[in-house]
Symmetry: C2
Subunit: 123 residues, 2 copies
Amino acid sequence: MKDGVPAHSGCAVEQVLRLLSGRWTLYILWRLQDMGPQRFNALVRLIPGVSPKVLTERLKALENAGLVSRHYEPTVPPQVTYSLTDRAVELRATLDQIAGVSRSWVAEGWRMDTGFPDPAKDG
Amino acid sequence: MKDGVPAHSGCAVEQVLRLLSGRWTLYILWRLQDMGPQRFNALVRLIPGVSPKVLTERLKALENAGLVSRHYEPTVPPQVTYSLTDRAVELRATLDQIAGVSRSWVAEGWRMDTGFPDPAKDG
DNA sequence: GTAAGTAGGTACCATTTGGTAACTAAAGGG
DNA sequence: CCCTTTAGTTACCAAATGGTACCTACTTAC
């Protein structure tokens, strides 16, 4: 984006997709859903490969979007617990829909070959 | 991604989200849905701001994913027409769901403030 | 004194992504 | 001959994204 071209920024769907499509974002949501409220370092360990930097970023974004709530306990050392909000539950049904479509495609033998670099093509 | 960390690549939802979250991708799908099958340059003109490079890339990805079909007419000059597949229609219902949630959030005064750079902050 | 844990923040770096401009071949119009 | 159209491709460049490593302030354990 350079200057005055707003693209299709007014579109709510794009915004939500953009929020959800960041790396680890869905994983975070699913872990919080499956395991209940979690503390920061617990999430780091629960999501193998995520860096604290990105996890912080994602949690902030999700908090600003109202999908995650952050509870800070000013003990020493501090305890910060993250949990899903009601809004996130709303989203969950939608995500289940996507999951359904995705899985049905995979079941039909659908191979994800979008031209994006394959993250699993290690030796 | 560096080497052997597969992240959560096995997850179909992530794959689909990754496909859909690229810039212009949803826009392309919506234009094809609203306006019916379109030729390449028609799409370029229909989506203000998209470059032929990215449009080609997206259309290829969507074709590989089985959401768009490409009809090549070997005339001179050639005519290439893109249209949605049945699979894309399946996806449409899901997208409508997301659209519903997104719009309800917006209606409640939800502001997209995810910490991502705001694409509309020109001035 | 040293190590570990808590919840991140910061600097730096590599990769990914997307944009611009120029180019292609083959035909038609002036 | 020169310009236009079609459907892209290519080279180049800037910005966004995400990873690693190191830092904080404070306490407990050894």
